[in-house]
């Protein structure tokens, strides 16, 4: 009697499991919402916080009106976007319009989950090469973004004037200035060397401007760039805390007067406007005078997922085109302190928003992170931040990359 009970329970368990696996895996063909009827588009993005949420909503609404659709929008926190995308893919409930951070586009395109924009005759010529590179996989462009950002060097104008220091343009000047500005509990410079992609992002301008590359990580140029950071911390010009700081923490240090300069991006400008000191920005210093300052390209693109519904896909492509047209590009750039991706309006933009001058120039030479390695970028990015962490915690800079590559 007991044996039968056990068998029954086991059978029920197994049967239940099989039933459930059928339940979650297939999900039926839910391809695209409103099957056939293309008047509503579902949108997924990660602008879940204010003020971005409302600013982007305005742009979305404007384009919705222009294209003639209504929108159902879903926002998720940034760190959870990819996970949500994967969940949706698995249950075949992908949105009609999907926002992706530019370094993730190639990874998602490689799965076959996005529709190439050429299918819809979208014109990609007016845009900066960097953003096109980021959104291109195997020759096809999969997304467009209205505005982008990058990194620059912010500095406390009052403090620099007090010490009679000019904003640095080379690494040597950077080291001197940082050392001179370090006083009391204030450090000369702050940057983020945290153990995740944010740390990699902050390191890239130094790495790339020096001629280093992500295709060959264990190189003398990369080691030299790492040595710069190690020296800055070793001199005491940058706090050891950098190894655990996010870019938000770096901004907090700068605003609190605990750092005279910082490596950061223009999205911090709204916060900086509340500072009780004067600040300004320049391009990231280069190793030797005259070299190009190459910074990474940040920002999001709008893509059209493969939902199997041609009518909504066509509408979605129109929508994506609208989101990157001149009007939208300029309005989003102005509202969110980004740089438009359309090369023809960048100069006009810089005139309108002088605070963004350094970033506007930097964008012209900016580079996409996935430009060379595509879907293999995440591995390289991991090696880079591990190398940074190793270098700052004692491993010699010329060994750090090799060691990190083994990881």
């Amino acid at each position: 009697m007991h044996k039968n009970r056990i068998l029954l329970t086991a059978a029920a368990f197994a049967a239940g499991t099989v039933a459930l696996s059928g339940c979650s895996g297939g999900g039926g063909d839910k391809g695209g919402d409103g099957g056939g009827d293309a008047s509503t588009l579902t949108v997924l993005d990660y602008y879940n916080n204010e003020p971005d949420k409302t600013l982007v909503q305005e742009a979305l609404d404007a384009c919705a009106e222009e294209v003639g659709v209504t929108l159902e929008r879903e926002t998720v926190p940034g760190a959870d976007l990819i996970q949500t995308v994967l969940q949706r893919a698995q249950s075949k409930t992908m949105p009609d319009v999907l926002m992706l951070d530019n370094p993730d586009v190639q990874e998602i395109a490689a799965t076959g989950g996005l529709a190439p924009l050429s299918e819809f005759d979208v014109d990609t010529s007016p845009f900066t090469q960097a953003i096109i590179d980021a959104a291109t996989y195997e020759g096809e462009v999969y997304g467009l973004g209205p505005a982008v950002n990058t990194l620059g060097l912010f500095y406390n104008v009052d403090l620099l004037k007090e010490k009679g220091i000019e904003p640095p343009t080379t690494w040597d000047e950077l080291k001197e200035a940082s050392a001179a500005l370090t006083e009391g509990d204030r450090y000369g410079l702050a940057f983020s060397a945290i153990a995740n992609y944010e740390g990699t992002w902050q390191f890239l301008p130094f790495m790339w401007s020096n001629g280093g590359d992500e295709t060959e990580l264990d190189s003398p140029e990369n080691a030299e760039a790492l040595q710069l950071w190690v020296d800055l911390i070793g001199d005491g010009s940058v706090s050891q805390g950098a190894v655990n700081w996010t870019q938000g923490d770096v901004k907090d240090q700068f605003m609190a007067g605990k750092a005279a300069m910082m490596v950061n991006g223009p999205w911090q400008i709204p916060s900086l406007q509340e500072a009780d000191f004067e600040w300004s920005s320049v391009e990231i210093p280069v190793n030797h005078a005259g070299e190009d300052s190459v910074a990474p390209l940040g920002g999001e693109v709008w893509t059209v997922p493969e939902t199997g519904n041609d009518a909504t896909k066509a509408k979605a492509a129109e929508f994506v085109e609208c989101m990157s047209n001149e009007k939208t590009s300029m309005s989003i750039a102005e509202a969110r302190f980004l740089v438009p991706t359309r090369t023809d309006i960048i100069d006009e933009y810089i005139e309108k928003v002088p605070d963004m001058a350094a970033f506007g120039e930097q964008i012209k030479t900016a580079r996409a992170r996935t430009g060379k390695l595509g879907a293999d970028w995440p591995d390289a990015a991991t090696v880079i931040y591990n190398a940074i962490q190793l270098g700052i915690t004692g491993t010699p800079a010329d060994e750090a990359f090799a060691k990190a590559e083994q990881g």
Binding site: I6, L20, C23, S24, G25, N49, P77, A79, A256, P270
Partner: protein, 287 residues
């Protein structure tokens, strides 16, 4: 006989009857010191929430110049979310106890050969990373139309605490003296009656303790709140906090203020529940 008489005096009546002993004042002071040490980070969080910058970089020990901006934002934005969280948490407690209590009692008192297997499966369930469960649930909920519903979240949050509640309550219920159960059965009570009228009242502490945790699990759940909602119609406060945390810019004073404010109703509920964990729930019933 005198021992039993002493026990039946209500504890608070006893302490009211005599004046506060100095010993008790000392204990109270020690308690406060312990609390100060344990809760210092909470105080620090409150300090941060009152700073205009939302961080304590330039803050002293005391917030001498409090800025209420974070609280203003929190109050205007999170009111509905707080109610949602409360509904879901209380619902999860009810569902959890209703399902786990009988099971815990059965696993504690009945003799089954497969008890170990059952417990093992339950324990393994606790070891699964939450994210694997969330991914599986999304698809199922989508098919069943349970996304964005209170019921859906209540069921999901209860699922997290049921295995825990079973294991914990079983441990408590194993201490129920078999004689009182047998006495009831001898008197002709069926299994359900024995459970309801004898075992449950005696297991008050177990129920309240398990209920407390069920509430806490549901209250602090973020994963299911994120996965099982796609619109902002129903948004527990754990998810609501993310309104202030963007990919690049975060409003920490609002975040901290929300955390402080949302803890208040929860603490009040927990306080009430704690008062009921009384001593000697089982003592005196064994003759």
């Amino acid at each position: 006989m005198t021992t039993t008489e002493l026990l039946t005096v209500h504890p608070s009546a006893a302490s009211r009857a005599r004046a506060l002993k100095p010993k008790q004042v000392v204990y109270a002071i020690i308690g406060i010191v312990i609390l100060v040490i344990m809760l210092f980070p909470v105080y620090w969080m409150i300090n941060a929430s009152l700073q205009p910058s939302g961080n304590t970089l330039t803050a002293g020990i005391f917030p001498t110049n409090p800025s209420w901006a974070g609280y203003e934002k929190a109050i205007t934005d999170q009111g509905a979310n707080l109610v949602t969280s409360l509904i879901i948490s209380v619902g999860a407690v009810i569902v959890c106890l209703a399902i786990a209590a009988p099971a815990a009692y059965a696993l504690a008192q009945f003799r089954y050969r497969w008890i170990s297997v059952a417990l093992l499966i339950i324990l393994i369930g606790q070891m699964i990373p939450g994210i694997v469960i969330a991914n599986a649930l999304y698809a199922a909920y989508n098919d069943l139309g349970l996304l964005n519903t209170h019921v859906g979240l209540i069921i999901a949050d209860a699922s997290q605490s049921i295995p825990f509640a079973i294991i914990v309550m079983r441990a408590f219920m194993m201490n129920i003296h078999p004689s009182i159960i047998e006495a009831a059965r001898v008197d002709g009570a069926g299994q359900v009656r024995t459970f309801w009228s004898i075992a449950l009242p005696v297991s008050k502490n177990a129920l309240i303790t398990a209920g407390l945790f069920a509430f806490l699990f549901a209250w602090s759940d973020f994963l299911f709140a994120l996965t099982l909602t796609t619109t902002s119609d129903i948004r527990p406060v754990t998810l609501g906090i993310y309104q202030y945390l963007g990919t690049q810019v975060s409003n920490w004073s609002a975040v901290m203020a929300t955390a402080v404010l949302s803890s208040l109703p929860a603490i009040i509920l927990l306080l009430i529940a704690q008062k009921y964990i009384a001593a000697g729930a089982m003592g005196g019933s064994v003759k």
